[in-house]
Subunit: 379 residues, 2 copies
């Protein structure tokens, strides 16, 4: 196996556009797999770096780096000691590795793995710049905005090709994160009242998770009125625009008066304002789930006496659900049409238009865009 020369979208500096250029993707080493990408979702977590609202360094990352952390692809070649993948396999990426051996993988209540990428996010070199040979890092151990990637096998999961492989890319992050933040982290109970702050692709999947869990009231909260229709389609029983409440009522007043507060509050955006508002909107036994990644200096500030009736504050990457289990369940649900995925994908663009993709995400024009790669389309 030889290195491959191909294109990737490189971040040189937070706040600057991505640069599409030729890179060298190495042959897979021990326990590594090289994948030809099919499709990658444009997610707000990457966007924070493109928009300059978060620093790579505070995540343990280094620059320059290839962004992209969702995705599907086809195995191109395998390194030594890889026995469960072969060329041609359809695979899904995970930002959370799963070694199945460590003490955390043995713990049923977390998807964090001791071989977690977090400590080596900046150190895992996945590519080099073709023109200069400079080392390039890949965000979250991946960096999927690239024709090919070489990745640790613990971050890959084999999937069926009976579903739409392109659209499946968002199972990786948006679908798994949203759905399991409701079903697994929040453990939404039947008959409960759920508030979902931020109706993007994460929020819509939280809606699906709440509906799946048979919540009674599912309140979609967003300041973009046009998101109402898709929120209702995905399971919302009510759409609330906090800017349009009657008589200057605050959102928390509205939710407390109408529902006695929400039993589950999901922040799918990640901002101090929403976090504070969501915490204040909790019912006496409510659970707050932090999903959106807030700016680095954001804190939970919460009066202790409010915890004593049994309130809970939690958060987690990818809904805290172990990847293998999450992905196999979701792919099956997608195949059986028990969850909606296609309806969330509102745009498909080539890698060369990736900066427009991030602009469209910011303006609220799209729910989720996909970057799709030519020559790898399966269906």
């Amino acid at each position: 196996m030889n290195p491959i020369k191909c294109r990737a979208a490189v971040l040189y500096k937070e706040g600057d556009p991505l640069v599409i250029e030729d890179v060298i993707v190495p042959a897979p080493d021990v326990n590594q797999v090289r994948v030809k990408m099919v499709s990658v979702g444009i997610c707000a977590t990457d966007a924070h770096f493109v928009w300059g609202t978060a620093k790579m360094e505070s995540w343990g990352h280094k620059l320059p780096s290839v962004l992209g952390h969702e995705g599907t692809g086809i195995v191109e070649s395998i390194g030594s000691n890889v026995h469960d993948f072969q060329a041609g396999d359809v695979v899904l990426m995970s930002i959370i590795p799963q070694c199945n051996e460590c003490v955390l993988c043995q713990n049923p209540n977390t998807n964090i793995c001791m071989k977690n990428l977090l400590p080596d996010m900046g150190s895992r070199v996945s590519k080099k710049l073709a023109k200069s040979g400079q080392a390039l890092y890949g965000i979250m151990g991946l960096g999927t905005f690239s024709d090919y990637i070489t990745v640790n096998r613990d971050q890959l999961f084999k999937m069926t090709n009976k579903v739409n492989i392109e659209n499946s890319a968002i199972i990786s992050c948006a679908v798994a994160t949203g759905f399991y933040s409701a079903v697994n982290l929040g453990k939404v109970l039947p008959g409960s009242t759920c508030g979902i702050w931020g109706i993007g692709s994460i929020g819509l999947n939280v809606l699906q998770g709440c509906k799946y869990s048979k919540a009674k009231n599912i309140i979609a909260i967003d300041i973009t009125p046009s998101k109402k229709d898709i929120a209702i389609e995905f399971g919302a029983t009510e759409f609330v625009n906090p800017k349009q409440l009657n008589g200057g009522q605050t959102l928390e007043q509205y939710l407390l008066e109408k529902y006695g507060g929400v039993d589950y509050a999901f922040d799918c955006f990640g901002s101090q304002i929403i976090i504070d508002q969501a915490l204040k909107s909790l019912s006496v036994t409510g659970t707050f789930v932090l999903i959106g990644v807030p700016p680095d200096d954001t804190n939970i500030v919460y009066p202790c006496n409010q915890l004593m009736t049994g309130r809970t504050i939690t958060g987690g990457f990818v809904g805290g659900k172990k990847s293998e289990q999450a992905y196999s369940e979701l792919v099956e649900m997608y195949e059986r049409k028990q969850i909606k995925i296609d309806q969330m994908i509102t745009d498909k663009i080539p890698l060369t238009k990736i900066n427009e993709g991030f602009d469209n995400l910011r303006s609220g024009k799209v729910i989720r865009s996909l970057v799709t790669f030519t020559g790898t389309k399966m269906n």
Copy 2:
């Protein structure tokens, strides 16, 4: 049935000693039961008001009030519409009512009841001063430092007389709160590492709960060296005095280096310093459980990025476990010697010595004192 004239310990002002004086306990009204007290524990939650470190008003209470919220007693008489109690029944008190009918009683994940006492803590008049006829309130709907109390039937639970009734008084709060904060709120997993801040009667019961849940490392943390022996007796695998760590190491450094942090951190005291320290000592997937009732202005302040690996912050009264279920399980475990209760009771005093009881609690001389009432002793 007539009103009964008897003695009670009355708080007129926070920070002042309790006054033992004659009061009038009314005949039980609809859904009420009058109980002759057998035994009451002296708990730190009451003590905060006696010591002046908390205000009754911030709990929704009014003064003057009879303190005391643990306890066992014998039913003396019943009001109308009470069919499940009769004179002579041995009963245990709960600060948390359980109507078994409301939406929260139907929710398996909370012990808060819609008929919760909290909103009417100050308004439930249980007694009058004998000398003046002035209305007297009872803390947490109880006020058990009294020869007799008249109480809502939803706060009473029938128990067996096959166990030591006097000692059982602390099942009401200390045992149930500590044990279920580990078993139910924390949901301690086998093989895990638990840190318990504050080795009083609550802390010892958290230890028992962690041991029952088959935790691997159970670290008792207290600045009173004499508490080591009883901590070990109750299940601690290690006793740490934060003031005696080697080389100026902080407690959180010690716990992170030795154990990778604690999977469960229990604050059994309720102070800003301990809360901050316990939060900093969490493992990547750790759960913090607030048990001790901190001063009114105490806050959780926690960086959001620390939540994202799946950490959880929670709290709750009486371990969040429904009273009936909790008490029936605990009384049975006590009878079968699966939990220790007698070993925790280090002093028994008459009502007339109650102020000494609070002094002894403050000085760390006792683990738990009981106020016992003459003429009602069962065994």
